[in-house]
Amino acid sequence: MSQMAEQISEKRLHPFTLLYRLVVALPNAALPIIFVLYTGNTGEWAYIFISLFLGFFILPGILLNYFYFDYTITEQEVVIRSGILSKKERHIKIDRIQNVTITQNFLHKLMRIAKVQLETAGDATTEGNLDSVSIADSERIREIIRNHQHEKTSTEVSEDGVEKEDRPLEIEEENVIFSMSLWDTIRYGAVRFRPIVLVASAWIFSMVSQFNPNWTDELEVILESGYKDYIKQLDIFMLVIYAIAGVLLVLLLSWIIDILLTVNTYYKFKLVSERGKLMTSQGLFSSQKGAIPLKKLQMMVIKSNPITRKLNFYRLDLQTAGFGGGDGTKAKSETAIPFAKFTQVKEIINKIRNVELPETFTKVSPKTIRRAVVKYLLFSIPFGVGLYFAFDSFWVLLILIPIIGFGAFIRYQYRGYHVEDNQIIVKQGFWFQKISIIPIEKIQTLHKRSSYFQRRLGLATVEIDTAATVYGNDASIIDIDIDIATEIFDELNRLFIEDKNKRKVS
């Protein structure tokens, strides 16, 4: 490593950056023209002028920005100089850099360039972006920063208790915790069934199915002959067949699209452990590299849906507070394992943070079944009304009762929690079940909530808030006895404060 030049001085970005930025900026300039073309309103010369105006400014802007931008990497710091009229020099201390992320989107890939992001613990204003440098340069920048950091902070990093020994650099590179084969990726895509893809493919299907060249003729015939006659001549049986075939086609389409999208996103997925960090790399057309600093890890969530559960496959998401820290707005959830057997997920969780998933969880109060039944009953009123009118019989509603009862029972069965000295584990969900593991020291605020109806049954909910509660990923212990809730609330609080004091002393 010593042979390598350990510094870069006043280097410009890769020349292809010019091309890249031009391509990216093009749609902006073209938008008004497209608008003019689309409306056919050529009288609106103003739009074209705006386009030309933009073009006139964009091109020199890109050129000047390119020539007035350079970066320097020394042993102590990274200096990024930019600006034409107002000069800006950003100094980023090497040991403040938390992570060097290299990303490539599709255009980057075509031009064989990459974007380098230097992430620090501060907010966005202290970060550095090099968009774009050649692939070789990006690797080199990362290497240099890492080497400088390694010389300095080898002791500092190991202190957080995550990474016990300082491994030599060469081994780190191969410390793959988890990787996915192409077959795994396809299988993963086949069981995802994301609602959003379903909606999208239904939309595509409806667009395509309307693409009938004789469409207007047909409509004319219908209108001329009177639509009542048209409806009469339709064959109900065939219509039903068409409808079913359509639904099946949409399902098939969404299934295939989901598989393709999944392969694109998770192709060659790899999870690598580095000093105090987990790195993910994935992607077919646009490769993505993510980093999960373990110090910022707020919550681990094991997720499953009914199909993956049946096949014994689970997903592990790691939620971090984001590099922004502080305001919590940049909290994000990063997928560490898209698709793996439960035992493997458990193993990896254990590697990431010394957690043993308990065999049994403490159950919530069985009274939750009662509340679920009431809730489901209310939800099923519209459905029940539909059933009543469809079958014209009151008795048919009775079939709802076992379904609701069973659903409520399943939900109760799955709910649970487990409080340990270092973490709290919460199990919840019905279709989409999840197990959340929250380190005690990451708790931000605690809430004990009990609504009027809960209090009537002597129940309460404990909410645990961390800096990474991405929407829909909150962890709550719902419907436990009020006394137990108070106990847990106090216990967590005590554990947290003890932990804090321990840290302060050491």
Binding site: Q298, I443, N493
Partner: protein
């Protein structure tokens, strides 16, 4: 356990009046334009706003008092503790070391009664900002200073 300044009841009363008026206007529109069009609508126009008015009247009289009665906060050794709620009771705790920063804010209604509101931000994302309403301004400042002392720069 400390209580809020009793004047906060007046602030809340104004909020409730405002809310009731808002709903009356909404239901008035609804009644006039939509419900009256329904054939065999059993009530006269203005019935729903009237219902809203009476519900609003009762809540405006009752709720501020109850809310005040059940609102407590406490500065404990290591944490800020809040306890409030009439129908849904909520206990919250924010350890001091988790507090990021503290704002004092005041809206027009609060200014009428020279009250302030203490907004305590943590890095948490759900119900992140704890709010203590109805504090005299000087007292809010006192609390802010006191809490500031505990607030430690701490990485998430």
């Amino acid at each position: 356990m400390m209580q809020l300044n009793p004047d906060v009841k007046s602030v809340w009363t104004i909020y409730y009046i405002r809310r009731t008026l808002f709903f009356i206007v909404i239901t008035l529109c609804l009644d006039y334009f939509a419900l009256s069009e329904i054939p065999k609508w059993p009530f006269f126009i203005g019935f729903t706003p009237l219902v809203v008015f009476f519900i609003g009247l009762v809540t405006t009289i009752v709720m501020p008092r109850l809310k005040y009665k059940y609102w407590f906060f406490e500065l404990r050794d290591d944490e800020l503790y809040l306890k409030r709620g009439v129908l849904t009771k909520i206990d919250s705790t924010a350890p001091y070391c988790r507090i990021q920063h503290i704002d004092i804010s005041q809206n027009v209604v609060e200014r009428l009664f020279s009250l302030s509101r203490l907004v305590i931000y943590t890095a948490g994302t759900k119900g992140a900002d704890l709010i203590i309403p109805g504090l005299p301004h000087y007292y809010a400042q006192e609390l802010q200073n006191k809490l500031k002392e505990y607030t430690v720069e701490d990485a998430v």
